[in-house]
Symmetry: D2
Subunit: 137 residues, 4 copies
């Protein structure tokens, strides 16, 4: 199930080339991940209260076109894969229906007490739902 | 005693106007504050270990000229005022000796355990030294 | 006339103290300024097309309380003062109706062709409207 | 030939998890790319003056461990691959000799006049030198 997170490009995100600087895409993916989980019934605070948090272990991003100031983009998110302690989310940045950037990020589930990786609990698995990748494997 | 913190303007800091976006100046002042305290014998980690931290309560910034990508600026820092629980630092962003931006930031000393304001301890007072404002009162 | 710009605190904005890092407030004020002008009939692109842009010359910020991850804040904006080539906007960050941060920013109107300051054109004066400061002078 | 770009972790880069937020790594890679080219005889301004610029088309990042406030990291950069219009750089973030993060970024060479892709000119090819990947293909 795909969730879309709306974002209007901020002045500070645009660099001297007139398009959004690359690092902001990872910030957008993070916002979209939080919105996705909340939309699927798991506010981030609830996840933390359950003793779990997520950390990035890998990210791949492909840029196809730039976006500029005040562009209203949608960041689509969908579960790509669920493993034992890690899962992947797919992201697409869409402007007027065209995908300008696609990304896949792998997260590992960790304990909030610093004791390391955890098997994905039902709380998180339920929120992630059945994988429905946006990108080819 | 004035400390100067060197910084080379980053590509991402420059906006579509071709100059550094305003919010980065506060980030520079923060870096310069940390460098100033360390230079004066108080690494930030040592301050935290002593149970003290600092929080911003007020900041004033005047911009006189923009700076661009790869400009090598110096951020000068000096103690402006020391009170009972708060102190002020003055900042100047200098490019080739010209002040392009000046700022004053007021910090309050707080306990790291969340219990609120603290009288400025000797550890911090010694690092701040005798006030020598860069800006007029 | 006060406009309020909604913002949900992002994970990346929160620092190791558990509250939003200071520099992001200037970024929020910038977003709110753009939203304010658009709400008042002047999209930023229209201002640029008219040959005018705005640059910050001064900003004052007072922080009264921190805000944390996922807090839904409103950034209120109102015109504080209109001069010949410059104007000031007042900002308040409000969380559940309480002002956690207040700021005033002075902008100068410049030509987009790099030729410097301009008398505030009717286009911008109309959008700014009659001054109604949020903060005491 | 590997170039290393030094960076001391800034307070604002550290999030509520106590480690650097993921998006800053792309910012570091960008700084390191600029430093790498300059170190190899091609200041960014010279590249722009020649009518060429670079744009990211793909980035892969693997995180192995977090880094915290004031950690002094080195960002190593090396040319991974040179094609007709694109090239790849490898990056390693090293803390006390341990690689905490590895990345590969693909750039396409474009004309600064907005007319699109360009064959990599000698100016850039010379700066990139002979490929010496840090990461496995």
């Amino acid at each position: 199930m795909t969730y879309t997170h709306p974002h209007t490009v901020r002045y500070l995100e645009v660099d001297a080339q007139g398009v959004v600087f690359n690092s902001w895409y990872l910030a957008w993916f993070d916002d979209a991940m939080t919105g996705f989980l909340a939309h699927r019934g798991l506010p981030y605070a609830t996840m933390l209260e359950s003793g779990h948090d997520v950390q990035l272990v890998r990210s791949e991003i492909d840029w196809r076109a730039g976006v500029g100031f005040q562009d209203a983009v949608d960041i689509a998110v969908s579960t790509a894969r669920i493993g034992r302690t890690s899962f992947a989310l797919d992201f697409e940045v869409r402007l007027d229906g065209t995908v300008t950037c696609a990304g896949r990020t792998v997260y590992v589930v960790v304990a909030t007490d610093g004791s390391g990786k955890r098997t994905i609990p039902a709380l998180i698995a339920d929120a992630l739902g059945k994988p429905a990748p946006l990108l080819p494997a």
